[in-house]
Amino acid sequence: MSAFFAWLESTGVAVTVRDSLMLTAALSAVHIVGFTLTTGGALVANLNLLGVLFRGRPATEVTRPATRGILLGLTISALTGVLLFGPRATVASANWIFQLKMALLATAVAFHLTIHQRVARTEAAAGARRATGAVGLLLWLGLALAGCAFILLE
């Protein structure tokens, strides 16, 4: 794995990003635009399941557009994230906050695309909806906080 990260750091793209502070800054800025779209969509979808936003309407009406927003935001953040990761692959991958961020990302996305979707689609009982919304909210906010911690504490 460490050989792979070393190779990643030596690629032309990674060297180009590392050598340009303004390119790094621009990638980071676009990364945060994706973050806003993703976390905003996740807020809307999970607050709806919790019963505090757009209540009284079918959950799919909210979940479907919100999921599109989440996926668009994730695409933007993943593309820029990979480019930001490249030049710092070895250091970042060894950073526990980064590892936590990636674990939360994978869990939040998997939870949203499976359990959240099913609960929204089947109009499950109120308790199950609220529990799903609460877990989803914790996962996405945890991811957002881990993202903040990674850029601020490294």
Binding site: L21, M22, T24, A25, A26, S28, A29, V30, I32, V33, F35, T36, L37, T39, G40, G41, L43, V44, L47, L53, F54, R57, E61, V62, P65, A66, R68, G69, L141, A144, L145, C148, A149, L152, L153
Partner: protein, 159 residues
């Protein structure tokens, strides 16, 4: 004036305490999600791109408390960060772009509420709102993207 701000206890606390700066920036970033991350759904409704089955007025009413909580947190944390680094921020070109973009966002919201929203009864349920409403939604999204991008660029160019 800028130096006086930096010398206040708020400025000192943010600069000197162990995690004062990081904590304030984290609140500032999380507040973006709450404000712009929810506002964008109203903008998309104005554009007729998303949530078209909902009345625009209903979207606004339901999202407003989240948006304004987020804006309040973002404003307070933003002012605290400015106080701590007033001189460097004031001289920073991206800070000026950010302030200009926020003034545009305010003007856009003012014009929307003053002009376009007055006839909302005519298009509230329409999946494709009139040009003025769509323009307001598009301008809002563009201007807030500029605010976010300029804000992030500040942290790379100020210190």
């Amino acid at each position: 004036m800028l130096e006086w701000l930096e010398a206040t206890s708020v400025g000192l606390m943010i600069r000197e305490s162990a995690y004062g700066f990081q904590g304030t920036v984290a609140v500032h970033l999380m507040a973006i999600t709450l404000s712009v991350g929810t506002l964008v759904w109203f903008d998309l409704r104005l554009l007729g791109v998303s949530m078209t089955g909902y009345q625009a007025s209903m979207m606004y009413r339901r999202l407003m408390p989240w948006m304004f909580t987020g804006f309040a947190l973002m404003f307070i944390s933003g002012v605290m960060l400015f106080i701590a680094y007033a001189t460097a921020a004031y001289d920073n070109v991206y800070f000026r772009i950010k302030i200009a973009a926020m003034l545009l966002a305010a003007a856009n919201a003012f014009l929307y509420h003053r002009l376009t929203e007055r006839r909302i009864a005519d298009w509230d349920a329409s999946p494709r709102p009139p040009g003025g409403a769509r323009a307001a939604g598009l301008v809002s999204i563009c201007v807030w993207v500029v605010v976010i991008v300029a804000g992030r660029l500040m942290s790379y160019t100020m210190f």
